[in-house]
Structures are given as structure tokens and as C-alpha cells.
């Protein structure tokens, strides 16, 4: 069975030549990475390519991993670079899909309430797609990836206060777009 060791210890082993340990890191993190890219790009296929790219880059640049460096932060730094390079190659960000949302199962009995929620989530998805990618990334890291602001600061190479202000601006911008879309729909 795979050992349940800390990620940074596993990455140190990969760096020191035990490449098989990368498989354990893949099993632990590939879903989160996929969701990160999926939320940023809206494209499943592209997101899977980017996940592959991240693991390839971590293998290729394994010697740059430093002892004591939190693995998750390092992995997302690699992921950001992979996304930037990938998006440039694709000449711009792929638009997020506006397919109808698959809503989680709900126990609410009122069909009109269910419909309203479904419409709201559809609008929210459109609002997210309309958000500039830097702001979207902030929300993806903080809301979807559940990273702490300290970790995000580490990934973005800025201080925690800056992250918090940016998160505020990002959620405010998203909220404005969402309510604008809701207003258009209502009018």
C-alpha cells in the first residue's frame, strides 16, 4: 500500500531520484488540480492536458524543489505557470462553457424554488466566466480549492493583506456581474 507520508517528504524523495513517489502525489492531488484548471478554463480536455503538464513539469524541475517548501504552494505555482503557458499557446483563454449546471440533489419540495436556484446557478456560472482570469483565479483558489489566504499569498508571491483585498475585489466584481445578469433576465 502507498505510504501516507507528508507531501513534502514525498516530493523530496522524487527530487532525490525516487520518481515512483510521484504516483502517490498524483493520486492525492490530481482531482484538485483538475478542478482548478476546469474552473479557470471551462474546458475539460484542456484541463486534463494541463494536469498532465503539471506533473511533467514537477518531474522535470524536481531539482528546484527546496526542503521545507510547502508542496501544495509549489504545486500551484507550477500549475499557474502551466496554465499561463497553455493559455498563450491557445491564443487566449478558452471561454467557459455555459452548459446548464448540474445541480446537486436537493430535498426542497417546491418546484419553483428549485427552478429559481437552477437559474441562479446558471447565472453565477456565466458571471464567473465573464470575470477577468486574475479575479477568477483568486476565487478558485480561495473558494473552490479551499486554500488558506496564507497559502494563496505564498503561491502568488505577495503578502496576505494583498490577497484579502484582491479576494474582496474579486467577489465584489463577481457579485456585480451576477446581479446585472439577474437584472437583465428579470427585465
Amino acid at each position: 500500500m502507498p505510504e501516507t507520508r507528508a507531501d513534502n517528504v514525498l516530493m523530496q524523495k522524487v527530487r532525490d531520484g525516487d520518481l515512483a513517489k510521484m504516483a502517490v502525489l498524483f493520486e492525492r492531488h490530481h482531482r484538485a488540480l483538475f478542478r482548478y484548471f476546469q474552473r479557470l478554463t471551462g474546458n475539460r480536455e484542456f484541463s486534463e492536458d494541463l494536469v498532465q503538464d503539471v506533473y511533467f513539469r514537477m518531474l522535470k524541475y524536481r531539482h528546484t524543489y527546496r526542503d521545507g517548501n510547502p508542496f501544495t504552494s509549489w504545486m500551484y505555482q507550477v500549475a499557474r505557470n502551466a496554465h499561463l503557458d497553455g493559455a498563450q499557446k491557445r491564443k487566449g483563454e478558452a471561454p467557459l462553457s455555459e452548459e446548464p449546471m448540474r445541480e446537486p440533489a436537493s430535498a426542497e419540495p417546491d418546484p419553483s424554488e428549485i427552478l429559481r436556484r437552477r437559474q441562479d446557478l446558471g447565472l453565477l456560472r456565466r458571471a464567473l466566466a465573464a470575470l477577468p482570469v486574475e479575479k477568477r483565479e483568486l476565487l478558485v483558489l480561495s473558494r473552490f480549492q479551499n486554500l488558506k489566504y496564507e497559502q494563496i499569498a505564498d503561491i502568488l508571491a505577495c503578502d496576505v493583506g494583498t490577497v484579502k483585498v484582491r479576494v474582496y475585489r474579486a467577489i465584489k466584481a463577481l457579485s456585480q456581474i451576477f446581479f446585472e445578469l439577474a437584472g437583465e433576465k428579470a427585465s
Binding site: 520518481l19 504516483a23 494536469v51 446537486p104 480561495s142 473552490f144 474582496y168
Partner: protein, 262 residues
């Protein structure tokens, strides 16, 4: 707290990481500033809705793609590793060279060749070890998947693992005894033929005969026990042959097995 200071705390407020004193100050501010209260409520609503958006899952192809890439990367490293090049120590066109110079070249050449060969052996052993670990991980990971087709791939992949690998052997034995899919159990019995020399295989499969509810798997196990000349299975075969609940074909096969082993 001023309206600007409220904005600095919104991120913590949303994430639920606001300290108690700040939370109290924020509440006090909301009590006297309707604009901030309204804005924070709207942002909270959006934040909460984000949490309801469904998280998508990667496709089933991502995992095998990764493992193939990892293996390709390792093989690439392996092929890029320096190999001891045999050096031409003598050029028969240079017959005019003095014996002393020739002997010197031979001495240096042989010395270097032996050194490189030793390093090459160590590198190769290390790489072989890495490849083995990677294959072991792939096999064990696939055998734990929920999908029967993935577990079948795991059984198939076990063919690339050393016969001495006890973890893979244990996983295959577990599959034979406990996997809910008959196909996976059958494939695992076949895969265990590579491990037939291990004493733990014979003992386990012998006991597995009685536990199986699938006649197909029982037939495969009897074949296995007969082919490996496992005489310790005689008692289990006899019990199966006498069992009132066993399948008719299985009982006949058990009788045949007994005749082969006795």
C-alpha cells in the same frame, strides 16, 4: 471601524477566519452603516452560492495517461543514462607504436572501462529498482479501483511486476478470495501462475476452493492446483467432491483433480 477597514476584513468574514474582536467590531459597524451591511450580505450570498456549484471529476483516461507518461519519462531517463562505450584500444593501422605506449593505453583503457562498468551496474540496479516500484504502485492502485475493468487492468499489469513482489502477490490473492467480480477473480487466478513457486500461493488457493461461490473460479483453481502439482490440495479436492452443495461440473473436475494428484 471605518467603511474602508470593513473591506479589509470581508475576505476573512467570508472564509470564516475572522477573529472574535474583529467580528464584534464588524457587527457594531453594520448596526450603524446600512450600506456596508447590505454589501456584505450580497457578497456573502454570492460566496455561498459558489460553494454550491458542482465540482467536476476528471475522466477515467487521466490516470492511465499519467502512468504512461511517468513510465515514458523514466524510460527516457534510462535510455539517456551513459552506457559504457567500448573503446578501441588498438588501431591495427598504427603498428609503428612503441610497445611501452601501447601498454600504457591498454592500462588506462581497461581501468576506465572497469570503472564505468561498475558505475553502470549501480545506475542500472537503481533504475530497475525505480521501475519496479512504479509498476508495483500502478498495479496496487488499479487493484483498489471501484471499477471492475480498472481492477482487471491491475491484474493484467501485475504481469510486469517481479515474481518476488510480496505486496502484489498479496493483492492478487486478496482479489481471488474477495473480489466481487468473477472476471477479476478468474484473471487473478491466471495471474498467480507467475507466482506459483511461492509457498503462500499454494496454501491460499487450496483454502480458497471452499470459499468460492463461482463454479467458474473453482474450475480455474482446480486447474491451477493440478498444473502446479500441489499435493496439499488433495484434502480440499476430496471435500469438494463430496460436498452436496457443489456444482456438478466442479465435483467431476475435483474428482479428476484427485486422480491427477494422487
Amino acid at each position: 471601524m471605518t467603511c474602508d477597514q470593513v473591506k479589509e476584513h470581508i475576505a476573512d468574514y467570508l472564509a470564516g477566519t475572522l477573529g472574535r474582536p474583529e467580528a464584534e467590531e464588524l457587527d457594531e459597524h453594520f448596526a450603524r452603516c446600512a450600506a456596508c451591511k447590505q454589501e456584505t450580505a450580497a457578497l456573502s450570498e454570492t460566496w455561498e452560492m459558489l460553494g454550491v456549484l458542482e465540482q467536476e471529476q476528471p475522466s477515467a483516461q487521466l490516470r492511465p495517461r499519467f502512468y504512461q507518461s511517468l513510465e515514458a519519462y523514466r524510460q527516457g531517463l534510462e535510455s539517456a543514462a551513459p552506457t559504457p562505450a567500448r573503446r578501441r584500444l588498438f588501431d591495427w593501422g598504427w603498428r609503428g607504436l612503441a610497445w611501452s605506449a601501447a601498454l600504457l593505453i591498454v592500462g588506462i583503457g581497461v581501468g576506465q572501462w572497469l570503472g564505468v562498468r561498475e558505475r553502470g551496474r549501480a545506475d542500472l540496479a537503481s533504475l530497475q529498482d525505480e521501475v519496479h516500484h512504479m509498476r508495483q504502485l500502478v498495479t496496487l492502485s488499479l487493484l483498489e479501483q471501484q471499477s471492475a475493468s480498472e481492477r482487471l487492468r491491475g491484474v493484467d499489469y501485475s504481469g510486469r511486476v517481479d515474481q518476488s513482489d510480496t505486496q502484489v502477490l498479496a493483492a492478487l490473492l486478496y482479489a481471488v478470495n474477495h473480489d466481487p467480480s468473477v472476471n477479476v477473480r478468474l484473471a487473478a487466478v491466471d495471474a498467480l501462475r507467475r507466482f506459483a513457486a511461492s509457498p503462500s500461493v499454494k496454501g491460499s488457493l487450496d483454502q480458497s476452493l471452499a470459499k468460492q461461490d463461482s463454479p467458474l473460479v473453482q474450475l480455474a483453481l482446480i486447474d491451477f492446483l493440478v498444473d502446479t502439482r500441489d499435493k496439499s490440495a488433495v484434502r480440499s479436492l476430496a471435500a469438494l467432491e463430496r460436498s452436496p452443495t457443489a456444482d456438478k461440473n466442479v465435483k467431476e473436475k475435483a474428482l479428476w483433480g484427485l486422480s491427477q494428484l494422487q
